[in-house]
Symmetry: C2
Subunit: 343 residues, 2 copies
């Protein structure tokens, strides 16, 4: 039996995790959950540490972790959010951030041209390096002469492995997005690794765009893409942009994966949304779709498809929260998916 | 009499510069041009240097430089493009990249919801630091163990001055975009400078978004913004994204400014577009609108408005290139603006 660690987290995190766990239950996977309810801002405020060594020892043996959301307005986001999210990504070496984006219903597209609405692509984001490396510092800190540096770090090993992953999930094509025309050192390394990856995967069509051009293309025709592979920072930006073209953050799920160890962390792309926390209106679909990714990760692609089918049906019926044009609360929207699953 | 340096550059650069110079002529500014026709890829290929000290000596005394586009497929973009664009930005310390984006006609918007189409905002992009600092390097270069680093550099002086500029051009509000929740050192410096800038400009409304959320918001409702201020890399991405929501790269103009010395470099946001170079189909409006920014810079806001009015009229009549749904060539589209100017 597999153990799934669960971190509901802060704000709307616990609210969307509850229906996601109901869906997980309904799938009848051979799995039990280990809920770390205390990994949140309250604990951080009390102890100065959100995620202890003991917590990590509980998470490490799990093939999958489900996370709700972390972030708290009392804390400022930098150190606290990093202390959970970035720590888990780095500690478990979850080097792939896998973000599929699919338009669940035509009405959710903000685009005018009908033929360009049906986005169905994946952003593969490098998840352990880049501007998230934590390397850097500042001097004359706090003065009028402060100089701050954050290192955008790329390693051959880190780039090569995420490129290989991107090719491994391509259905038709892989598009590399970088800024090799301006950001020299990493740019050249990514380009070299890219050529080598192309040679290793000669049967996959490829293309390349600078990140500014990619943002432009996505905003006008996201249907042009199958798999986009890019670094940590551009992946952060482009995955949110693409999500906006497919109904927004309320339906954006993600998997943080280490394909080598087989571990994964599954989370909605949205944050803890303190402005609506407690109101019972948060959209649970991103968390539920994260459960689909989790099921797939555990070898149950059939169950993942069931969840996605149920989500598509609930969306089609308009049984959704206000962000998607419906009028249901979090619980009711979760129940709507469960009802579809039971059909 | 003011001297305006002109660098037509590569690819479609010279093609769009020609009509832009015709428009400049028609404005009757008290200015003459000094055309540096040899600053291009051919020169770089022959001499290894695109922009010599002698060229810089011609450019430095000019209050304004007009640039067409640089980039050449024979060269790979990194070193060559940097050797002109980044060099000019750094040598002249053009610390503001000012990118106004305006929807010239409803039909050009890719957005479905009519009330969200009329984007009219400015991206103020820091233009001398960030990931474009050139600081960094690589080790074990060319091996399977290469490590590459590019430093995202922020200085107190650099951040404070671009924030002040952003406040100075605000009509209603300024939105800071950063990633302080993940990119620690620069993030904290920007946040501190931001609070100080808010104190210096207490009558301007302000807001703050992380870059991923900003991309999402822009893609669905660009009318929510007046001035966006951000670092070099995010400014590059967000200004192209916003341009895509207002007719695309064919109408995106930019000014690289040093408000202290009064110098400016004016250029369309698009590149040299080698794929269509020589075809005579490139859209000259971005170059022409760059001339409007140049006129404004030289204290002729009246003439800038004349140019914008002429562009709006030509767009409204459909006297435009194919990228905007018309059927004119570069020359004819330029002539259409001249005709409107002459009305
Ligand atoms: C060509 C490239 C280096 C440049 C940049 O990123 O600054 C361009 O995209 C721009 O936005 O002016
Ligand atoms: C909260 C933040 C640090 C995080 C990130 O940028 O990685 C989030 O935006 C995401 O995309 O998962």
């Amino acid at each position: 039996m597999t153990t799934i660690a669960v971190i509901p987290g802060d704000g709307i995190g616990p609210e969307v995790t509850a229906p996601a766990l109901d869906v997980l239950d309904a799938l009848g996977l051979d799995a039990r959950t280990d809920v770390l309810g205390h990994v949140n801002a309250d604990t951080y405020l009390r102890t100065g540490q959100a995620l202890s060594e003991a917590d990590l020892d509980r998470i490490r043996p799990c093939r999958a972790t489900l996370l709700g959301a972390v972030g708290d307005p009392r804390l400022g986001d930098t150190a606290y959010v990093r202390s959970i999210l970035t720590t888990l990504r780095l500690e478990l070496d979850l080097y792939v951030n896998y973000r599929p984006v699919k338009l669940w219903h035509d009405r959710l597209s903000p685009l005018r041209e009908p033929s360009r609405r049906a986005v169905d692509c994946v952003i593969v984001r490098e998840n352990t390096e880049g501007l998230y490396s934590g390397v850097g510092g500042s001097t004359r800190t706090g003065t009028d002469h402060e100089i701050a540096m954050d290192v955008d770090l790329s390693t051959h090993q880190g780039v090569a492995r995420v490129l290989d992953f991107a090719f491994s999930v391509a259905r038709t094509s892989v598009c590399l997005v970088d800024k090799a025309n301006a950001v020299r050192n990493g740019g050249q390394l990514w380009q070299r690794c890219w050529r080598a990856a192309q040679d290793r995967h000669p049967h996959v069509a490829t293309s390349h765009l600078y990140v500014d051009a990619a943002a432009m293309r996505l905003a006008t025709d996201p249907t042009a893409f199958d798999v986009i592979v890019t670094n940590n920072s551009y992946g952060d930006i482009l995955s949110d942009l693409t999500a906006a073209l497919a109904g927004g953050i309320g339906v954006a799920a993600s998997a943080n994966l280490n394909p080598t160890t087989g571990q994964g962390l599954f989370e909605p792309v949205h944050g803890s949304a303190p402005d609506i926390a407690g109101a019972g209106t948060a959209n649970p679909l991103a968390a539920i779709l994260s459960v689909a990714l989790l099921a797939e990760h555990l070898g149950r692609a059939d169950q993942a498809e069931r969840v996605r089918g149920a989500v598509a049906a609930a969306v089609a019926r308009g049984h959704v929260t206000p962000d998607l044009g419906g009028s249901l609360g979090t619980k009711e929207a979760g129940a709507a998916v469960l009802a579809e699953l039971a059909r």
